[in-house]
């Protein structure tokens, strides 16, 4: 026991000494751990709390409900429809493949649809909702509910989707919505902020223009999630706001009638209030059903629309460029009168053709009109008279007047994207753009609206409206604006404008105005002498309401409905001598070579309020094809006038 007592004591003392040293070290190290705990849990607590919240909280954004489009009378023309959808969250499904195969049987999905769904599934996170079907029929929906017990993980839900109740009636004005593309997100910050998978955004038309008003804001569901992103419980729910409704100036009934009148012909109809500038109808034909685009259009439907030679995808009212033909004649006449080139009493002998510098210019009437004065020339649309007038007037003066009345510029100023400006030629334009000098012959054909001149149907409508209101500038619009002048106020302002018009012509005043950057007065006068405007309007009345007038056949006798207009027939192809001799009927000429038929009009004549323009592509002559449509339109427009005024005062009081 005590053997080697001395060494044993040494052994023990070494042990005790070393244990003591070790215990000190342990104390220091434990203090170090406490210090570390202190630094993490007390000093940096805030930082780690934030990190922990970032870990566990996740937001799910819900698609916002899109604002609606209403017509002037409050009818919903682009709304939201309740739709039945089928959702699956792949993460919550035990046997995804089996479920999919079962759904495939029930919904009778094609191989293509099935492959598309599977592709979508692979491109998203397992906890994100997979939309199997966006629009179940009632039959499918009830079938799913019937089998729901063995479809664990499938969720039939009620959702909202865009719907265009009048199908193709408003397609070209409203455009349509489709799933937001990469491009939409880059282009529009608001879309990016509110984006959720499957969000529909405006692709074209007003749906696109007013995207930021229509879109609304997301609802937000905040969930606690685990490390794998699975939702554990909902912490709060923020309801989104619905997008703004937008009221348009369009009249559903007129728009519908315009669509019916155009039928399957290619063409365009626009109707405008000549004082307020409200666009009452704006139809382009052929149209297509925008509802087809909601869930991705089928290849077959798309091909059908795309390959249609009548170009249903083009909104001809604002994108279509056409020679105005004889519908320009009131402007040519006005320009000549305003510039004191001719007097209404000037007569010209029309023999059916006119020789000038070795060129022959034909009148549409082969036999000739005989002696024509200006009123008769407008009424009977005598080409020879206007060749002569244009020659005297010159293209530059004509171009100034035409531009004043709204040709050669956009009408809606960007409300509908990429609206075409058209072209009003002048000598400087030709020099700059084509590098060639102007030729007199070109002036002559410009006088009957042929040659370089190009206008959109909506511009012709604005032109007619500004003539009809007595020659005052108006501001066309398609949405109901908050601050609008009352009719009385507009008329008053126009009167004021006419009173001060003479002073405006003073060049010093003009300089001063430009120097101080004073804005043009509202409802600016577009004429020098109001008698000239009156004369042109009266001649247009003759054109429609007197024997020999070009649209006499389409007149309405009742004073209440009586309208005045001007026909136009725009050549598409230069008519050769041979053709002229053959005297071909329209139906004998190939479709693409037939003339465009045009008609512009305003009414009621006694107290004008509305203007319209009609264009039928390759429709033959304006008087036979286009003018009869105006008759039906004016009947309806004027019948609906009272109601519109009522709605107007209602909208007006709403706005203020």
């Amino acid at each position: 026991m005590f053997s080697g007592g001395d060494t044993f004591v040494r052994k023990l003392s070494t042990l005790n000494r070393r244990v003591f040293i070790l215990s000190l070290a342990k104390g220091i190290i434990f203090t170090g751990i406490v210090a570390r705990l202190f630094s993490l849990q007390i000093n940096e607590n805030k930082k780690y709390l934030t990190l922990s919240d970032k870990n566990r909280l996740r937001e799910w954004r819900l698609p916002p409900i899109r604002g609606q489009f209403l017509d002037y009378f409050g009818n919903v023309i682009a709304g939201n429809l309740k739709v039945y959808q089928l959702h699956v969250v792949p993460e919550d499904v035990d046997n995804f493949k089996a479920l999919m195969n079962r759904l495939r049987e029930i919904l009778k999905l094609s191989d293509k649809q099935f492959a598309k769904i599977m592709k979508k599934k692979n491109s998203q996170k397992p906890w994100e909702t997979l939309v199997i079907s966006e629009n179940l029929t009632w039959d499918e929906f009830s079938k799913i509910n019937f089998y729901l017990h063995d479809l664990i993980g499938a969720k039939p839900v009620l959702s909202v989707a865009r719907n265009y109740p009048y199908n193709e009636t408003f397609t070209h004005v409203l455009g349509y919505v489709g799933e937001a593309s990469e491009n939409d997100l880059i282009r529009n910050e608001t879309i990016k902020q509110n984006h959720v998978a499957g969000l529909r955004v405006g692709k074209i038309g007003l749906e696109k223009t007013f995207e930021n008003y229509l879109i609304g804001t997301n609802g937000v569901q905040r969930y606690e999630v685990n490390a794998y992103g699975k939702r554990i419980n909902q912490l709060d729910f923020e309801e989104g706001t619905k997008g703004q409704d937008i009221k348009l100036t369009l009249d559903l009934e007129v728009q519908k009638l315009a669509g019916e009148l155009l039928g399957d012909k290619a063409g365009s109809i626009s109707v405008m209030d000549i004082y307020t500038g409200d666009i009452i109808a704006m139809q382009s034909s052929p149209s297509f059903n925008p509802n087809l685009f909601l869930y991705g259009i089928s290849q077959q439907d798309w091909n059908l629309i795309k390959s249609n030679p009548l170009k249903p995808l083009v909104n001809k009212t604002v994108y279509g460029l056409y020679s105005p033909g004889s519908t320009i004649k009131p402007i040519v006449a006005l320009s000549a009168l305003e510039n004191d080139i001719i007097s209404p009493k000037n007569t010209v002998l029309c023999t059916g053709k006119m020789e000038m510098y070795g060129q022959t210019y034909h009148c549409w009437k082969k036999k000739g009109h005989g002696y024509m004065d200006l009123r008769n020339a407008i009424k009977q649309s005598c080409d020879t008279y206007f060749y002569e007038t244009a020659r005297k007037l010159g293209v530059d003066r004509l171009s100034l007047t035409a531009k004043k009345f709204g040709l050669g510029n956009t009408v809606l100023k960007g409300t509908i994207g990429n609206e075409k400006k058209g072209l009003i030629p002048s000598t400087t334009w030709k020099k700059q753009q084509l590098g060639q000098g102007w030729v007199l012959g070109e002036t002559i054909i410009t006088g009957i609206g042929q040659g370089y001149i190009q206008t959109t149907p909506l511009q012709l409508c604005l032109m007619t409206a500004q003539l009809a209101n007595g020659g005052f500038k108006i501001y066309p619009r398609i949405t109901v604006e908050k601050n609008q002048d009352s009719l009385e106020k507009i008329k008053f302002k126009m009167k004021q404008s006419a009173l001060t018009a003479k002073e405006e012509i003073n060049p010093i005043r003009k300089e001063v105005k430009e120097f101080f950057n004073i804005k043009d007065k509202e409802y600016q006068t577009l004429f020098r002498n109001p008698e000239n405007i009156k004369f042109v309007l009266e001649a247009m009345w003759g054109s429609t309401n007197e024997v020999m007038g070009t649209s006499f056949g389409s007149r309405l006798k009742d004073k209440k409905y009586q309208f005045a207009g001007k026909t136009g027939t725009a050549q598409v192809k230069k008519i050769t001598e041979r053709h002229r001799e053959l005297e071909l009927k329209a139906k004998d000429v190939p479709y693409e070579e037939r003339d465009h038929a045009l008609y512009v009009a305003f009414g009621p004549y006694e107290n004008p309020r509305y203007a319209l323009s009609i264009l039928i592509e390759h429709g033959g002559s304006g008087s036979t094809t286009a003018a009869p449509m105006a008759k039906k339109l004016f009947k309806l427009i004027i019948d609906r006038h009272e109601e519109r005024e009522k709605a107007r005062s209602k909208n007006f009081s709403l706005a203020t």
């Binding site: 705990l37 007390i42 780690y48 870990n55 606690e224």
Partner: protein, 374 residues
């Protein structure tokens, strides 16, 4: 007087029962309760598999410890080498017939329990050394022959454990062995030499490490480099502890663990969970319990008469200290992540068994403090 001493060499059952160390027992029971509640929390507030089997194991092994404590310290001395040899045998057996799980062959399937012999080796090496140095004279400790044998005894199991591979446990075995050797009186210069050699050979050792082990060491130095990959555990653990704050998020309210952001929360990261739920106060309290436990074991060592008993207690106390320090430093981001359980707290039968055996030897040294070992 002499007679009294020789008489008191033998104890009656009630004498033994009376001399149980109540402070140590109290610490063990407190840890048992805390660990049971923590395990209940890892099960998401339900009495599921982990919590049930942890509580069961704790009870069984605690009772086992209680009865083992009655065994005389002489018995532990007598089986010192045998114990080591048996565990070494089990390790060798494991390397042939072990159960492979997550790429490492650490377990023996004994049908009623999956035994991890490397955990037992943590205790075996201390018993073996205590016996070895008990018999050596202090003068002979630093002789070459008496250096070679203990080193061999240490290196053999380490090689076996490293090859499983299990870096964490082999480091713990090495550290407890080295501490006992130093306590026994081996000249400090040998440790310095070894340390220097180790430093020089580090590049070679690293080339032998498995890629995942290398990655762990690299991510320790910069966990933010790959926050979703290898650095994930350290970052999430720090977030959990840090977000606990002063008083913690509350029992069963640790979002980090409840929402499964914490990896291995019932084993190596049990302290993280505890710390998130009970904050700085709770963590410091737990650390205090361990400190009292270690202090108590050292105290028992100083009071016991036999050198074997002393060395074992000092060695085991230090080993507990090493386990706690390495585990906590690891989850607090002070050391690289190596698998190392927190004694009693962590889920794991073998670790619990080894700890309880160690504690029963300590208790035996307390009860038989006047007993000498020849």
């Amino acid at each position: 007087m002499y007679q009294q001493v020789s008489y008191s060499d033998q104890y009656t059952f009630f004498q033994k029962l009376r001399s149980f160390d109540l402070v140590l027992l109290f610490c063990i029971i407190i840890l048992g309760i805390i660990s049971s509640f923590s395990m209940y929390s890892t099960d998401g507030g339900e009495l599921l598999y982990h919590s049930k089997s942890h509580i069961l194991r704790f009870l069984i092994f605690f009772i086992m410890m209680f009865f083992f404590s009655f065994l005389s310290i002489r018995f532990w001395h007598a089986i010192g080498y045998l114990f080591y040899i048996v565990v070494l045998g089990l390790l060798i057996w494991t390397s042939f017939y072990g159960v492979t799980s997550s790429g490492s062959k650490r377990w023996l399937n004994l049908y009623f329990i999956n035994l991890q012999p490397s955990e037992l080796m943590k205790i075996a090496i201390i018993i073996c050394y205590a016996k070895l140095y008990h018999r050596l004279q202090i003068n002979n400790v630093n002789q070459i022959k008496n250096l070679v044998i203990p080193i061999t005894i240490l290196v053999l199991p380490i090689l076996l454990v490293v090859s499983q591979p299990d870096l964490g446990t082999s480091i713990l075995i090495a550290l407890s062995g080295i501490i006992v050797m130093w306590l026994a009186g081996i000249n400090i210069k040998y440790f310095i030499y070894t340390f220097l050699t180790f430093l020089i050979s580090t590049p070679f050792i690293i080339s032998f490490l498995k890629p995942y082990q290398k990655l762990r060491i690299l991510t320790f130095f910069d966990p933010d480099k790959d926050p979703l990959g290898a650095g994930y555990q350290i970052i999430q653990s720090k977030i959990a502890v840090g977000s606990g704050g002063f008083t913690g998020k509350g029992f069963l309210k640790g979002t980090q663990s409840y929402l499964e952001f914490l990896p291995e929360k019932h084993t190596d990261f049990i302290f993280t969970l505890f710390s998130e739920e009970h904050g700085f106060i709770g963590s410091t309290f737990l650390l205090l319990i361990y400190a009292i436990m270690i202090f108590r074991i050292i105290k028992i060592g100083s009071d016991t008469r036999s050198f074997f008993g002393k060395l074992f207690c000092f060695g085991f106390g230090s080993a507990i200290f090493v386990y706690v320090t390495i585990n906590m430093s690891m989850v607090l981001g002070l050391l690289p992540i190596v698998g190392s359980p927190l004694p009693i707290m962590s889920y794991g039968g073998s670790s619990m068994l080894a700890t309880m055996i160690g504690l029963s030897i300590v208790m035996s040294a307390k009860i038989h403090s006047r007993q000498t070992v020849s």
